[in-house]
Subunit: 255 residues, 2 copies
Amino acid sequence: VRITKTRRVGDGVLQRDFEIEVAGEAVPGVIWTPDGTGSACLAMGHGGSQHKKTADIRIRAVRYASRFGWVSFAIDAPGHGNRISAEEAAVEQRRTLARLRGDADAVSLTSAAKNSYLNDLAAQAVPEWRAALDAVLESDLLVEAAPIGYWGVSMGTSIGVPLLASEARFQCAVLGLGQLHPDHVEFEAAAQRVTVPLRFALQWDYEIRTREYGIALFEAFGAAEKSLHINPGGHLGIPPAEAESWELFYQRYLV
Amino acid sequence: VRITKTRRVGDGVLQRDFEIEVAGEAVPGVIWTPDGTGSACLAMGHGGSQHKKTADIRIRAVRYASRFGWVSFAIDAPGHGNRISAEEAAVEQRRTLARLRGDADAVSLTSAAKNSYLNDLAAQAVPEWRAALDAVLESDLLVEAAPIGYWGVSMGTSIGVPLLASEARFQCAVLGLGQLHPDHVEFEAAAQRVTVPLRFALQWDYEIRTREYGIALFEAFGAAEKSLHINPGGHLGIPPAEAESWELFYQRYLV
């Protein structure tokens, strides 16, 4: 793993930018490390129109490092973050917020087009995540055989489900704000292969998703230990208590 | 409150049986107290065919007292525990387990009959709970203005919802395994008046309930802060991690 920049971000915590090459494309990543060798590892998948250092990920990664001694890492998803220009990112963010607001003129894909888009996204993103995980595990930043967890909601779940289905090194995962659309056979098959202990968070007052498809995804997961947590509010309104409960989940399963 | 029996049940924790009289009927109760004055108070409502000292309640009450210094209390619901003979209780328990197993010859009430039964149950049980709460608060077992929470799943929710709707002294509640049946207008109105922070637990593979009615009850609650936690498994299979999360919920809201 090629470290391109290192920055102290508080309490012995270092934030290291890195870059890996996958299928001829440069994939930018970031890794947050505690003082000393990390005792556990978290892969954090950002949401659509966000990037690897989105506040939600960064704040928790720094906290996990300083409080629990965990290493966290994230990569920019295809077509996100430093893989596109700032102008392209701004356009995409406006488009996403318009969809979240339910604006009538926001572009809405047909279900078949969306399923096809998500399949393509997974086909590119999953090998990138696996390569990033290889790179992190080959470093000397973690204790040997450190347990590995995944976190990702919304697009982080769209990518996380096929990732968890094909990657046996994850021991548990927090997913959320995801859904299983009718006839999305590839995603359903992947969800059935997700068998690690699982937390799944849904917001009940979705602007852009439907409740039934979220519950359908929960039901599809192959995990024996899985919990669905439903809270009121919109896509961006996961309450703080829910997010705090994730660290207890990881404390339980990253051992 | 008339204490009838006191027993040490571990780590400075006392279990005191008591009795109050409500509408001419003796209501047996139990209160678990920590070493020293209780800093918070929990009312625990048992499930159908169970009683006030059912293992699930007793074990948590003792733990809450010894670990957190909380007082917990419970009363036998109408037609339960010491309010019926041991033979009657055994018959009721066999009947309930048969229903939970889905036995074909288990008596199943019509929806209207069930709603009417639950209304009658609430009409008797709610004043009993309020009288028990009065008695506990009049004792010197709690610090002044100690925060009060409610816990009760299944029948503990059938009684808990109308209790919380009519009793402003509760600050938060954990409910679960409950449902809102069609045309149960009284229960729906009560749920809408439940506005304290709320945790609601459902088991996804119900033998005797339906998922939609459980979700309907969650939606009916008037609370702004409410979380629905869904786990796989049957009515009696709430996983340990879920039960452990309740004490974090109380730690957050009983302040």
